[in-house]
C-alpha cells in the first residue's frame, strides 16, 4: 500500500496539482508527519500508523495560506479537516485529499463507524463497526449505577490534560478546564465530575470519533464511549452528523428555524 501511495502522490506532483504533500515519514524507525515537496525522495513516505494530520495542516496553512497542499488522510482525518474548516482553522479550497481506506483491523481497533473517506485512492473499503458493548452496558444501568460506573472511571483521572491536547478538534486557545472557576485545580480525585461533564459537553458538536483522546489517556478511561452516547443524541435530535458537510453549521450556534 505504501508503494501505491507514493505513486498517487507522484501523480499529483507530475500534474502540478499540489506544491507540497503532507503525509507520514519513516525515519530511523520512527514515524512522524512530514511535508514533502516535488524534488523529495518519496521512498520514506508511509501511511501508517494513524495520525491526526489535520492539526499539522492547520499549522502549515496559518503560515502558508496560499500553498496548494496535498494531504494523505483516513476517514477520521477527513472528518477532522471538515470540522476544522467549519471553525476557520483550515481552508479546504487549497487542499487536495489523498484518501486511504482503513483495514478491518484498524476499524475494530477504533470501533470506527466510518473507516474510510468520501473518496478512496488507496485500499479497499470495509464495513464500519456500529455496535459498542460499553454503550449497551451503560444504557441498561439506572442513574445511580451509571454515576458509580463513571466515577469509578473518573477517579483514575490525574488531570494530565492529555485528552484535551491530543484532541484535534479541541482548538480553544484558553481551555476553560484550566480555569479554577470551573474545575478546581490541584484536587484529585475529583469530587464532582466537572472536568468530564464540561469536556463531554464541548465534544457534542465536534467530536469526530478519532479516539486520540482515549489513546492519550494514561488512565484508560473510556472517554469516547461517553462522547459517542451524546453524539448519537445530537444526530437524533438535530439530524446533525459531525464531520460530513462543511456547510452544515453546528446545531448549538444556529437558531431553531435553521435546524437540520
Amino acid at each position: 500500500m505504501n508503494e501505491q501511495l507514493r505513486e498517487v502522490v507522484k501523480g499529483l506532483f507530475a500534474r502540478d496539482e499540489v506544491e507540497v504533500v503532507v503525509s507520514l515519514k519513516l525515519n530511523e524507525g520512527c514515524v512522524a508527519p512530514h511535508m514533502y515537496s516535488k524534488e523529495d525522495d518519496l521512498s520514506s513516505m508511509v501511511h501508517s500508523p494513524k495520525y491526526p494530520i489535520g492539526i499539522v495542516v492547520s499549522m502549515i496553512q496559518k503560515k502558508y495560506p496560499d500553498t496548494k497542499i496535498g494531504v494523505v488522510i483516513r476517514g477520521c482525518d477527513e472528518r477532522i479537516l471538515i470540522e476544522l474548516a467549519k471553525r476557520n482553522q483550515v481552508n479546504l479550497d487549497n487542499i487536495v485529499l489523498v484518501g486511504i481506506a482503513c483495514t478491518e483491523e484498524d476499524a475494530k481497533d477504533c470501533l470506527c463507524e466510518t473507516p474510510f473517506p468520501t473518496k478512496i485512492d488507496i485500499g479497499e473499503k470495509v464495513e464500519g463497526i456500529t455496535t459498542d458493548e460499553n454503550i449497551e452496558k451503560i444504557s441498561q444501568m439506572d442513574m445511580d449505577e451509571r454515576f458509580d460506573y463513571w466515577m469509578g472511571q473518573f477517579d483514575k483521572c490525574m488531570k494530565c490534560y492529555g485528552c484535551v491536547y491530543a484532541c484535534p478538534t479541541c482548538i480553544c486557545e484558553n481551555c476553560i478546564l484550566e480555569e479554577d472557576m470551573w474545575v478546581k485545580t490541584g484536587e484529585l480525585p475529583p469530587e464532582f465530575p466537572s472536568f468530564h461533564l464540561i469536556r463531554a459537553y464541548h465534544s457534542t458538536d465536534r467530536c469526530v470519533d478519532c479516539h486520540e483522546c482515549e489513546r492519550a489517556c494514561p488512565a484508560h478511561i473510556p472517554l469516547v464511549t461517553l462522547y459517542r452516547m451524546i453524539r448519537k443524541d445530537v444526530e437524533d435530535m438535530f439530524g446533525y452528523k459531525i464531520g460530513t458537510d462543511v456547510n452544515e453549521k453546528p446545531p448549538l450556534v444556529t437558531v431553531l428555524e435553521e435546524e437540520g
Binding site: 463531554a200 451524546i230 443524541d233
Partner: protein, 143 residues
C-alpha cells in the same frame, strides 16, 4: 425526606422571567422560599458550565427561565438556550446525574401565576429527588 429543604438556583432573564418573579412578589403569591435568583440579561447567557458549577457546589436543583420562544429580547438567545439544555440534559443522564435536577422553562413578564407554579412544582420535584449528594457519594475505586 419531608424535612428536606432544597437549595435551588434559578437563572432568570432580565426582560421576562425576572419581571415575572417581581410581579409574583408584588402580588404576594404563595411560593416556596427555596429558590435563589440570579438575574442574567438573557437566558442565552446561561451556559451549561454554570449549571455544572452549581451542582458541583452542592445546589440541589437549577432552573433556567427565559422569555417564551419568539419573545426573547435578543431575538434568538433562547433558541440556543433550548438546544443547549436539551443536549445537556441527555448528557447528565448518560453520566448518571438525574436530569430532573435541571429544568428549562419560560415565563413572560405578565405570567406571575405561571412563575409561582414553576417554582412550586420544581421545588416539589427536588424534594422528591432528595439532596444533591453526588460529590463524594460513590465508593472510591481502590485500584
Amino acid at each position: 425526606m419531608t424535612d428536606f429543604e432544597p437549595n435551588i438556583l434559578a437563572f432568570c432573564c432580565n426582560w421576562c422571567s425576572y419581571a415575572a418573579a417581581d410581579l409574583a412578589g408584588i402580588g404576594r403569591m404563595k411560593q416556596p422560599t427555596n429558590v435563589k435568583i440570579v438575574r442574567v440579561m438573557c437566558s442565552g447567557r446561561v451556559k451549561p458550565e454554570f449549571v455544572i458549577k452549581a451542582l458541583a457546589d452542592g445546589v440541589d436543583g437549577v432552573l433556567i427561565l427565559g422569555c417564551h420562544i419568539g419573545d426573547c429580547h435578543y431575538v434568538s438567545g433562547n433558541h440556543r438556550t433550548k438546544k443547549r439544555f436539551e443536549i445537556f440534559s441527555k448528557l447528565l443522564g448518560h453520566m448518571g446525574i438525574d436530569p430532573r435536577r435541571i429544568r428549562l422553562d419560560w415565563a413572560s413578564a405578565a405570567e406571575a401565576i405561571e412563575f409561582a407554579k414553576i417554582i412550586t412544582d420544581f421545588t416539589e420535584t427536588i424534594k422528591e429527588l432528595g439532596p444533591n449528594n453526588y460529590a463524594g457519594k460513590h465508593e472510591r475505586a481502590t485500584a
